[in-house]
Symmetry: C2
Subunit: 497 residues, 2 copies
Amino acid sequence: MELKVKNLEIAAGDALVAMLNYEDAHHLTIFQGDRILIRAGKNNAVAVVDITHSNSLVPRGTIGLFEELTQNLNTKSGKKVFISIAEKPKSIDYIKKKMHGEKLNEKEMFSIISDIVNMRLTEIEITYFVAACYMNELSSREIVDLTEAMINTGETLALNKYPIMDKHCIGGVAGNRTTMIIVPIVAEAGLIMPKTSSRAITSPAGTADTVEFLANVSFSMKGMKRIIEKNNSCFVWGGGINLAPSDDKLIHVERPMSLDPVGQLLASILAKKKSVSATHLLVDIPLGKGAKVESKDKALMLKKMFERISRLLKIKTKVIITDGSHPIGRGVGPALEARDVLYILTNNPKGSYELREKSLEMAGILLEMGGKAKSGCGKIIAEEILTSGRAYKRFSNIIRSQGGKVCDPDSIRMAKHHCNIISNLRGRVSHIDNKIISKIARMAGAPFDKRAGIYLHKNLGEEVHRGSLLYTIYSESKQKLMYARKIADEEKAFEIK
Amino acid sequence: MELKVKNLEIAAGDALVAMLNYEDAHHLTIFQGDRILIRAGKNNAVAVVDITHSNSLVPRGTIGLFEELTQNLNTKSGKKVFISIAEKPKSIDYIKKKMHGEKLNEKEMFSIISDIVNMRLTEIEITYFVAACYMNELSSREIVDLTEAMINTGETLALNKYPIMDKHCIGGVAGNRTTMIIVPIVAEAGLIMPKTSSRAITSPAGTADTVEFLANVSFSMKGMKRIIEKNNSCFVWGGGINLAPSDDKLIHVERPMSLDPVGQLLASILAKKKSVSATHLLVDIPLGKGAKVESKDKALMLKKMFERISRLLKIKTKVIITDGSHPIGRGVGPALEARDVLYILTNNPKGSYELREKSLEMAGILLEMGGKAKSGCGKIIAEEILTSGRAYKRFSNIIRSQGGKVCDPDSIRMAKHHCNIISNLRGRVSHIDNKIISKIARMAGAPFDKRAGIYLHKNLGEEVHRGSLLYTIYSESKQKLMYARKIADEEKAFEIK
């Protein structure tokens, strides 16, 4: 059937979608979700059919094309296209197979993930896949196949080196900016560490946001490779390169139900590590009230699963469960966390002892894993590299390669407005809630306003008096500061006993 | 947060959706699928958040409202609204519960169906519900609760009469227009039969399409009641009244995966019957190659399920499994089927013997069920009513009440163009494929072109010679006739042995 194109000028987002008028569709016995082959001159594409009853949106005899499809077909409004019925992708059968409780093999898993990445499946179909994987839990073999499929449908970094180190933190702990300290130490010891990081999603700062206060973080794979060749390592925003792009599409349909299927979590993390050729991985699972993982059983289960799947993927992985019950470091927010990191790298006594210790511990494990330190000696060597100033120098070089410049941490200006939160009790700080601290810092403007956030004057276990300064909130706007303050008053971030 | 309205002038379809700019959403830590409360003066509504990266579609500081929401809030472009974060509906927890394999109770099932009908759940969330019901099969109790929820979220017809008869056919058999013969017989015997029917979805004619050739079929519940009060019965299009409106929304997400969950099928059918107060129901399951139900096991399973669920819903149901291996009657398409029905009602020898027999059989069962005939005598009484011309008179009255007029069947003009399909073999007709016949008739224009379709000159078991006329295809357009002819040549509808 011949139809006239109407460019809808909207992105469909999930799949390549074409909209037909209800009557045309009915006439051709085409239903919502059916596939049609659209031929536009030399170009053709298979699209998913959406059906509208609106004769103004898509009149009879026309076909509404969403943005991605208009581009794919290189056509425009008013042009003619020819449509015919096409078969549904095979991956739909595989999704149904998984719904029926059968196991998927490597080829089937790849077909599903590849169709997701190439916009051949709709949101509804992807939802059935996620539901099936959630209700009929993925086997270890399936997780491995899912991981490989995620890797092979995205960009990868080939470095032809061994070993290649990486680290990952499950997250949920405010101020926990260890990566920026660990990476220069490990790199300075002669190990390769092609670090990619994420931006904050629900937190006031991700590593990418914090590094961005000092340098660029958006690089192509080529750009990333150049930085690594020069410095053994880098701090690159993972979202800027096309690592395991299926992940975002799966998360998109998981979020409405707050699903957090372990198999997909593992596949997502490990795919991103393996995409940059990591051979050795250190995983940090912070455990505690207010962190992402709040139960010991869940932490142990995750640890076991990480170890099992890594083994099958041939990544040497060590998993540590750390104290995630309170913020690590004193700054929360990009500028404040960058200052914390710089204090530690320059051996300034204002640096947080806890953040320094945790970073050295983890850097030490990586040095041992990478063969740069004997068992039990990693932390000492890491400390040597830090104390000598070599880690700071390496850090400065990376930042320079990324178009930035390090600065005196004391010269960093925080956001214009601030307010102090004072204790009205005396005693000892018995708990600082990560979730509340993050909420206040975000309300104050972090991570968008880079200089907004929180500085913790007191940390866990410290003594306070009536009138002691607990923390300072920084914000670029008086209104945001007011909102942040309101949360601080309503939800107590500090417990004092 | 205060935002300026932009009316998007598009219907969202599934849920009440508001679109936020990526940066505003990120700032408020609002994600795709989160709920917000929108206040517009005195009006307010909870909406699902969609997020766009397009600053032209929804610039920062504005909120894009889909049509349904603009109406609900009685607002327009340029007006201010105030948004705040709202909780997700409880039904999402119940869907998750079902995903975890637990049973849902009456209240939970109602909450899900009610939220679907009231546009409080998105397509993704409805998909999880369907996936959960498919993978963790509904118990009989859950099917009953689902049915009741479907009834109570739609319109119902109260008749205060007993008994109230109804019939249902699972479908898939071309020309099987028994309803139009059964209804006047049953009504003439003094029984109430508030018949609602569907239009063709994948077939060349539904009962509603066929009646529409002679009269109106779109009535409100009030109009339907008036017709029944006058004639004991009616032929009303079910889609025109708001019976069990959740059904369409569930089917919408089932279709892409061709899911056909038995629990939902039963709930959908029985909800529509109970919505018009049916107390007695006859279900016809045509079984055979080319019909909807092709295996005896499936037919028996459906029969058992219908009986079990009906009992729990207090509907007296009888299920018959009939021969669905070939078309019943000679006409296929609205005008052709209407002519078949009129031949039979006027006792014209051109009427199909098989269609007449099947209709009398079924009408007889209904007369017995409704207490108008002793066991074993129903068919004789039905035949009496038909032969005497009383059924035809009752039929004419119903058609007149629906604004139509019966006519001499021989005066019915078929579509302008036709072509004859001739046998090139001699022998006996051993099979006529319902699916191929339906496909050809649809391609010829049915059910949209009311006079298009197929007339079968030969039926199952009849003898044919080389050159015998098998069937005639009618079409209003030469091109459609050509396409239909092409299918007829490629896929053999007749098997001759």
